[in-house]
């Protein structure tokens, strides 16, 4: 096939540097032995990684983000899979409107979603509760699950399901033994994308947390806007490391480009 020329490869190298630069700098700074942001670090020290352990605020926030990601990704998957089955394979009035509604959180600016959730939750006095966070995050991440599940639903050969039905399987058995295994890659991919989105969400979350439910991105954000120190870099390095590990696992299982493009590409 065509090969890229010399200048194309130069452009590519510069581009990769641009994409990686900010992350490499964060990782580099986190190894400094000094008390300020220093790059390149004058020596390698794990001082600021040890310091994470002395800051239970950040560890608590990480746990909340983890639980929130697990809960909201699971809830939205449970809701999005039946909805995707309906939208992906039935023809009915209001189908397009329903799909547009379920994808609309991608279109509404996140800051608008944030204030809308704040208004709603505070009126019912559940602002800052974990339940409130889970419900709001479920709304935000549902479009991601829906898109990936929809892509895999449309690829299912329905004659297999009909064969199972004709052999006497009930609806539920057909779903459990035939349909679900066939759409599982899309479901798992959607769940992972939902988890990552929820784990990283800042703009909406910053409006609807209270001090006891503050998530990791919100804690990092409020710390950065007040002061920057190597502690913030070492915590960020841990976040990068965890995301990369998750990404590599997803890439092996599902294909990262497929996950990001939303099932369009094979």
């Amino acid at each position: 096939m065509n090969r890229n020329g010399f200048w194309a490869l130069c452009f590519n190298a510069l581009f990769a540097l641009f994409m990686m630069g900010p992350l490499l700098v964060v990782i580099g700074v986190s190894f400094t032995p000094t008390g300020y942001l220093e790059f390149p670090p004058s020596a390698i020290s794990f001082r600021w990684f040890k310091a994470i352990l002395d800051n239970p605020d950040f560890i608590d926030a990480a746990w909340i983000s983890l639980e929130l990601g697990l809960a909201s990704a699971t809830l939205s998957t449970l809701l999005a899979v039946p909805a995707a089955l309906a939208i992906g394979r039935e023809r009915f009035r209001g189908r397009d409107a329903l799909q547009a509604l379920f994808l609309s959180p991608l279109t509404v600016p996140t800051v608008v979603l944030g204030v809308a959730f704040l208004r709603f939750l505070s009126l019912f006095d559940i602002n800052g509760t974990f339940l409130g966070l889970v419900l709001c995050h479920a709304v935000i991440v549902t479009p991601f699950v829906l898109r990936l599940v929809l892509a895999s639903v449309t690829g299912v050969d329905r004659s297999i399901e009909m064969a199972a039905t004709s052999l006497g399987a009930s609806h539920w058995t057909v779903f459990r033994r035939v349909t679900l295994p066939l759409i599982l890659p899309g479901v798992v991919g959607g769940w992972v994308l939902a988890f990552i989105t929820s784990f990283d969400e800042l703009t909406v979350t910053v409006f609807i947390v209270n001090p006891s439910t503050t998530t990791l991105p919100v804690r990092l954000f409020s710390h950065i806007t007040q002061t920057t120190d190597p502690l913030i870099a070492s915590i960020s390095t841990m976040v990068i490391l965890l995301t990369v590990l998750l990404m590599l696992a997803v890439n092996k299982l599902y294909g990262l480009d497929r996950l990001l493009i939303g099932g369009e590409a094979r």
Partner: protein, 286 residues
């Protein structure tokens, strides 16, 4: 499932529909109503109904400046993303599969890493004593630091970093739809690489650039973390203004009005853009 009646799809969608009706449609409607209420520093939110918040925003040059800056930054970010993202997507597309997977991980991977973390990286790079300024001073190119933190330029650079993966994904999807035979045909007819790119690849990639631009523009116009950290209080954008009205000033009705104006303007631009693209490229989207 051939047995399904008319009610089945609604039955299957009911759980998700309930959540969206309760936690998306209702809150948005309530925010819309809130934007007509009034606010006083002593009485808080008053349940009146009037247009004073909208009049306040639309008659104050301070807010014009913020909205203007927001859309200008979003526009420039989109343009840069298109100019850099298109060739990069094409280069990635032409790579051998093994290299390509690795490069995709590097180029698209940051999309999945927290925006706060990426913005911290840019804060370390762009500061007056940041990596870029120290480097330029070490090699003797500058004597006093170039100010990049708390400027619109700094915000644009970091926003391009955050948004460009979306552009690459959109162009990528368009490139996959193109017919590889067209490139070979042009080559066999004697076209050079540049001509092939301009006359064959670019027109076929254009729908991708346009849909990518739409995504990048709307996300940039409502970006929060990057302008909040890199712009601070000096370079305010619409989303950071809404944040301040809600969580610092506590003037919720005014904040709601600004948020509704942001929503309306973003939606208007998106619909107009879609119309334009559909008319121009109606043949491509069949």
């Amino acid at each position: 499932m051939t047995v399904s009646g008319k009610a089945t799809p609604w039955f299957l969608s009911a759980p998700a529909l309930t959540l969206f009706a309760a936690l998306l449609v209702t809150p948005l409607a309530m925010t819309f109503l809130l934007s007509f209420n009034s606010f006083s520093f002593y009485g808080g939110i008053e349940n009146t109904f009037g247009l004073e918040n909208y009049i306040e925003v639309l008659s104050d040059t301070y807010f014009y400046e913020i909205f203007g800056r927001t859309f200008l930054i979003a526009f420039i970010t989109t343009a840069i993303c298109a100019v850099l993202g298109l060739p990069e997507a094409y280069i990635l597309f032409r790579m051998k599969p093994a290299w390509r997977s690795f490069m995709l991980l590097i180029v698209l991977g940051p999309l999945l890493i927290s925006v706060v973390v990426r913005t911290l990286g840019w804060a370390i790079l762009l500061g007056n004593k940041g990596v870029i300024n120290e480097f330029l001073r070490d090699i003797g190119l500058i004597t006093s630091p170039i100010r990049m933190m708390y400027t619109s330029t700094g915000i644009v650079v970091a926003l391009v970093h955050v948004m460009i993966p979306f552009m690459i994904l959109a162009v990528w999807a368009a490139l996959q739809r193109q017919d590889p035979a067209t490139e070979r045909a042009a080559e066999s007819l004697g076209a050079g690489p540049f001509t092939i790119f301009m006359r064959i690849v670019l027109p076929q990639a254009m729908p991708g650039v346009l849909s990518g631009s739409l995504i990048v523009f709307s996300l940039s116009a409502s970006a929060f973390a990057t302008p909040a950290v890199l712009g601070g209080r000096r370079v305010k954008m619409v989303s950071t203004t809404v944040y301040d009205e809600f969580l610092n000033t506590l003037n919720w009705p005014l904040g709601a009005a600004i948020a509704i104006l942001l929503l309306v303007s973003v939606l208007t631009i998106m619909i107009a853009w879609n119309k334009l693209v559909e008319r121009r490229y109606s043949g491509v989207f069949e």
